[in-house]
Point group: C2
Chain length 397, copies 2
């Protein structure tokens, strides 16, 4: 007699975790270097040197009881001030440090935000396919309902679908740009269109908040690709940020929630964020890393590795004849399967030791996700296997 | 339109937080050294030297992407194995590493456990007064009901009350020994009595789990005081542990949940723990500190400071004529108020710049909590103020 929902979530592995375990087993059989595992979104480049330098400095300069002591629940005040100042200098947005709440990473940012905004059981949150599947777990955990909307042909949000889906139960729209799993960066025009629709609805009915989940914000590879800072486009915005990907610190669980000072009822929303954090069991974000990320806010690891991987993989796969979405950011490439059934395609790919994630759980059952945060040699060695796979489908190969 | 419960929790300060803010304000007026703040349970001794030594070693020896990468959701396997091994050597208990789940600290250990065990809305968890007030937030956040039972005259659990309170809706009993706020350590006899009652009920009706919240386990000051390892006494036990107090790392958010391998449905309970963690937004416990605490498991800071503080304060207050519970452990002294109304007593104490926490929120409205995790000089300087306060009540002073 336990919580059934929790039991179900805890006893069945996610598709990605299944593949991860398969990779280990297969690696033991034929050698890890012969398994082309593209399943996990774990950063493959080291944290910037500044991270360890800051840890050293803090251990030397700050008394232990202060450095490792509780910060306020919202996070250390000077940490929040630094991040708010950076939002002004980096994005031209005047953030209020007292509307920033430091969290234990992206998942915490999302569960806290969703719990804070769910006023009644059955409230709705909208998301565009393809989307990170844990959103469903988080939304349902908050007692709300996830409604999945289609993307357009470029995997940008379908704004007509958004218009139709809005109703007084909708509390928020979750966006994720650069996107996991597609690598697509939402255009400024799309976000402006979205803002106009949400603004009109908010003014007439009830406020719809934009929840921008942006752990990949800094991971873009072309000069021409600009990630739009959503608070500059829509007033009712909450940013859920994590330093996991930009600083290659996914295990350290550190991020923040930012409530736009221009949002309707910003102070009430922030109070609800603080209360939801308390209810879910978050006391404060890890104290040492709060200070580390404040000093490293805006830095990244050596992104040229990801750029090289992306270019190599995109060229290799399109040369084989595969249809791919050009990945502007994040470290995922989304590839259309020639047979239209991603699960079947992934099974075939396994014959060539290629481990890809089916798009089914992302709400895109014709695609597969290929995580290219791996050693470049893995991609070089895998391309001939992709070519053989392509030939099976009558492509150039 | 936000989550009302979260809003209420986030917009009203706890009594302890109110005092903390008052202390800052008053300190600015008369000098911080003249404010005798005994409100906060923040460790006042540095972390053991081994903590920083381990951080240094890990930064030098482990590749960044591994050290700061995701661990499995349950926690790094070798970390869990080390902690399980230590349970055998320290407490003679054969723990299974695959029933250990690393968490972001005590609050996370509790919310995850309570969510995992709440099968239906309205399920009950029992606790004995006096108790840590956040238990109510955590239990209600899980959709369950907190039922408070009385203590006996020594502030040990009242077992007759326990017998009467048991019913088929009861999922668990929360204990906290050494206790916050009383400093009392539950005796082995009491725990054995409790186990017999819970065992009989579990065998006849449904399993009642013992949830042992033990962040103060290592903080005891007399050779004669033994903290009973609850898994040695009752099979259906979950330990919610945190390293915050023992290693003086409250800001780093690191602890664990241990499900006894002897518990009924241990594997299902563990699966529900994993699922509840996922639902609440916990991905893995902070990775660097997982490894640090594994290396430091069982160590403490220099406890002689707390022992000295306890002895000085207990003698000073009883010499004044105050009636105090002898604190075997933790770093709190629980004192009976001469007028029987802790709120009024705390207001009078403020006249002497003594900041004490009323027992009301702990379910003990005749007591005040005095946190002695402070510099020894603060106690020395405060004792004359306590003497004046005592005289107001016609005590020796």
């Amino acid at each position: 007699m336990v919580n059934e929902k929790a039991y179900a979530l805890g006893s069945k592995r996610s598709a990605i975790r299944e593949l991860f375990e398969y990779a280990k087993k297969r690696g033991a059989e034929i050698g890890a270097e012969n398994v082309f595992d593209f399943s996990i979104g774990n950063p493959s480049i080291p944290a910037p040197a500044r991270v360890h330098a800051e840890i050293e400095r803090l251990m030397q300069e700050m008394p232990s009881v202060e450095l490792h002591g509780y910060t306020s629940a919202q996070g250390d005040k000077s940490v929040r001030e630094t991040i708010a100042d950076n939002m002004l200098s980096r994005f031209g947005f005047a953030m209020d440090a007292d509307l920033l709440y430091m969290t234990c990473g992206a998942a915490a940012s999302l569960t806290i935000t969703l719990n804070a905004l769910t006023a009644e059981q059955g409230d709705e949150f909208l998301v565009f396919a393809p989307f990170f599947p844990e959103y469903r777990v988080f939304v349902e955990g908050a007692g709300a309902k996830l409604v999945v909307l289609p993307a357009d042909e470029n995997l940008q949000p379908d704004l007509e679908a958004l218009k139709k889906a809005l109703n007084p139960k909708v509390r928020g729209v979750i966006i994720n740009s650069p996107n996991n799993p597609s690598g697509v960066v939402y255009t400024k025009e799309k976000l402006e269109g979205m803002a106009a629709i949400l603004r009109a609805h908010s003014e007439t009915y009830s406020t719809v908040y934009l929840i921008s989940d942006e752990p990949y914000r800094e991971l873009v590879y072309d000069e021409s690709t600009a990630v739009t800072f959503p608070m500059n486009v829509y007033e009712n915005t909450l940013i859920c940020y994590s330093y996991s990907k930009a600083l290659s610190l996914p295990g350290e669980r550190i991020g923040y929630i930012a409530v736009s000072p221009k949002a309707a009822d910003a102070k009430s929303v922030y109070a609800a964020v603080c209360g939801a954090g308390r209810m879910l069991g978050f006391v404060c974000a890890p104290a040492l890393f709060q200070r580390v990320v404040a000093a490293c806010d805006g830095l990244t690891g050596e992104l040229s590795v990801y750029r090289k991987n992306r270019d190599l993989l995109y060229k290799g796969l399109t040369d084989c004849g595969f249809e791919c979405i050009y990945p502007d950011g994040a470290f995922y490439l989304f590839m259309k399967t020639p047979e239209g059934d991603a699960n079947a395609f992934c099974e075939r790919a396994k014959k060539y030791e290629l481990l890809l994630v089916s798009g089914e759980s992302f709400g895109a059952p014709e695609y597969v996700r290929i995580a290219y945060c791996v050693a470049t040699e893995r991609i070089e060695k895998a391309l001939p296997a992709f070519a053989l796979l392509a030939k099976e489908y009558g492509l150039r190969g």
